[in-house]
Amino acid sequence: MDLGDLNEDAVSTARKLGAEDSIALTARVNDRMIRFANSSVTTANQVDEAELMVYLAKDRKRAIASTSNLDSANVKSFVRDLFASLKGLPESEYVPLPDRKVKYRPSTLGFDRKLVDVGEELPELAKTAISASLAAGGKRSAGVIDAATVSYAILTSTGTDGSDARTSITLNIRSFAEKDASGHGLSCSSTLSGFDPEEAGRRAGTDAKKMRGASEPEAGAYQVLLSPTVAANIVETVGSAASAFSVDAGTSFLTEKLGKNVAAESFSLTDHGTVKGGLGGRIFDDEGTQTKSIPIIQKGELRTYLHNLTTAEKWKTKSTGSAGLVSPHGWNYEVGAGDSSYDEMVREMKKGIILTSNWYTRFKNYRTGEFSTVPRDGAYLVEHGKVTKPLKGMRAGDDLQRMFSSIRLLSKHREWIEWWEVDTPTLCPWLLVDGVKITRAYE
């Protein structure tokens, strides 16, 4: 099953039927995973699958469909059915595909041939992480290692075609030392050589040990030092808010803020279609537009929303190469580095809390950006520049603009983050933020 042939079948069928615009985008995924809990393997998985997405437009009527039934005959009948369905549709927001042919060659960024065949090594890599955690003080560990290879191919009715591929390997490990004492470690890389299960296991085990005897903090406003893991989870919500679709749908705190300050001057956020070390993205978006590096926030100022062709027309600008056919989105976020070391950031804190992991970030109102998130694993009270005790049982709440405008320091050190709580790969430093509200159960 050649992805290029499938695209050719789809687009040529659409052309013959009379579609004005058509796009065929195929993706083939090979995913290998091992999971463990209580330091024992729970399952080993492998998924091989391919999918074809087709976009058709005629008379301003548009339809998108995806199928996993990829026999050539089925693809042709699939496109015929989709084209027939256009008749019953209303006109919708429509922008024709640009009249240009672009030939894409696969980017070498984010692809490591050595990762393509990784599979049988996964149990050994898991063992390395578990052993490192144990040596650092964790008593038992749960986690997952996931190795993925994704190949893409695109063909449009205007002649744009090409392919790209990505590899990634990620480890998410959590270690437990006793009842409420746990630590978290991640290693996320687009190359095998950049993957470090030992360091991730060591971190998880170290925090698990340090969290023994944790107590609940007093509720109140604190300086909060967010690890790259926590910061990336919140930064991802800023990236989502930058989608022009979110702005239109009323779910963005960045509404009516183009050209305005939305963060501290030290904060910059860029989205990259492809970037060295990036675990996601590709060189073309879903409409065949070349992806690039898009400065979303520069020195605290909101510079642009993320656009596809349709939203760009509406906003009288150009596509940023961020399609999603319905909703534009980011590919790989990068937060600019600061100039502080971790130790300097801790010394800067008078009354603060270090958070190393979090989950369950939920919004009261996406337009105002009011949210709360639940810290878990390593969390520590800092008093007058010194870590004094481990903390548990709290919740951090804020609104996004206040939080990002209150960034005091960013670290030089940055890490790629992608895990259960961060879908879009994000290169992130530690962030020291003033005045974050910490609450706990009232009783």
């Binding site: 995973m33 091992i34 999971r35 809990a37 024992s40 393997v41 729970t42 399952t43 080993a44 492998q46 998924v47 091989d48 699958e49 976009y55 548009r62 339809a63 469909a65 199928t67 996993s68 039934n69 990829l70 369905s85 019953g88 549709l89 919708s92 927001e93 996964l122 149990p123 063992k127 749960a142 997952v144 996931d146 998410n172 490990i173 959590r174 437990f176 409420d180 239109d248 749908a249 009323g250 779910t251 319905v326 989950w359 970030t361 939920r362 919004f363 009261k364 109102n365 337009r367 105002t368 709360s372 878990r376 049982g393 919740r395 709440g397 609450t439 706990r440 159960a441 009232y442 009783e443």
Partner: protein
Amino acid sequence: MKLQEGKQLAEAAVSRALSAGATYAEARLQNTRGRQFILKNGESQPSFFAEGYGIGIRVISRGALGFAATNEMKPKLVSGLAEKAVKLAKASAPLLKKKITFDSSKAVKRRWSAPENVKIENADAGWLRKVLLDIEDRIGNGRAGVKLPGRFLALGAELEEKYYVNSDGAKVEARLPRIGFFGSLTALEGAASAQRFIQQGETGGLEVVKRVRLVEKVEEEVKTMGKVLRTAVKPPTGTVDVVMSPELSGIAAHESVGHPQEADRVLGREGAQAGESYLKADSLGRKIGSPEANVSDDPNILHSMGYTPVDDEGVAAKKRRLIKNGVINEFLQNRATSAEFGLESNGASRSVSFDREPIIRMSNTFVEPGDYSTEELVKEVKHGVFFKTFTEWNIDDKRFNQRYVALEAYSIEKGEVGVMVKAPVLEITTERLWGSVKARSKNMEFEAATCGKGDPSQGAPVWTGGPETLLTGIKLGAR
């Protein structure tokens, strides 16, 4: 049709896995077709259709689990996939501390389907759009009494068909049609804004839209948003009584009872992702709430989003009394966890797609009804707050410290519902919440929801619900 063609492949895959060294094997064909239409601020978005068909094969070999899936449905490839699943299990076995076994649950042979009056296949883009336009007609341009600059309305119709076979003799064929609505609404009144996310849905055919009063419900929600923005005042803080609506009872039941009572979490299997549980394997029989605290999960409710009379391990699914009279009574089990507990599975294993392994899931989780009318329940309150709907919510990964921020809420004074109050916050431990239940109404209602769990993530359709539930002596905050 596709399922009929694939049956032999599935049965051959089970045989192949056994001959390759599996001590247990199962194959699940799953064919899902879904159509969706979106209106954004009244504008039609491209119609969307998705179909996914493939096979997932799960085996036990040398005491380890292996799972492999593909959508390339060629006999040679599927046979190779069965061998691959066995190979994966064998290769991981050295990292096994305790062998995985399945219980001896009776293998079910059954064909089942969710009842539908008007076949789901009739839900074309035109029908979906018409329903959304009916909603838009009632809420667009301030017609429901408040400006809604952000309106995202999505209606979907999905048909899930499965064929499941395992080496213990189970053979199950299922047809599950669903209608699901999601709306994101942002209301503005001057500089103030309110936001509401509405999810509605049932299993069934096109009749679902009328049965759930979808159009009317969304209009009512929008009118309420306007009232919140115009009239809500500061809520009382300090110690009050709280009446949780069916919506609040449902989310609390789901988050702080259903999740911590998933046996895989209790045993640590979800530790790195969704987390573990404040409960341990020996917590069955522990008193956690007042005698009025009664929470169940029932996969056999007709029309429900979690309707699953036979689970994805070929086990007949039973109602689970999770908390009975304040005592932890039962966990949600699959065949592996029940073997560890020395029990039989209660049929809680589900998978959302052929490329996802079955894991323990809730179905329809709810507070059991009591014998009060809603009015009688409110009469019991001298000073309190009626939580009707919620926006922000979250809970820690042990499912013990939770928070619900209300959108629609009212004060209650001397047994009478009073003024609307703004964003009261219930931030409370699981033990305190269920320990505070004094009474429940007879009025049962359910909401559709999507439950997240697993790695890769699986969003499972569920219902959450219950009656009005009275909590006494609760410390309340405000956002």
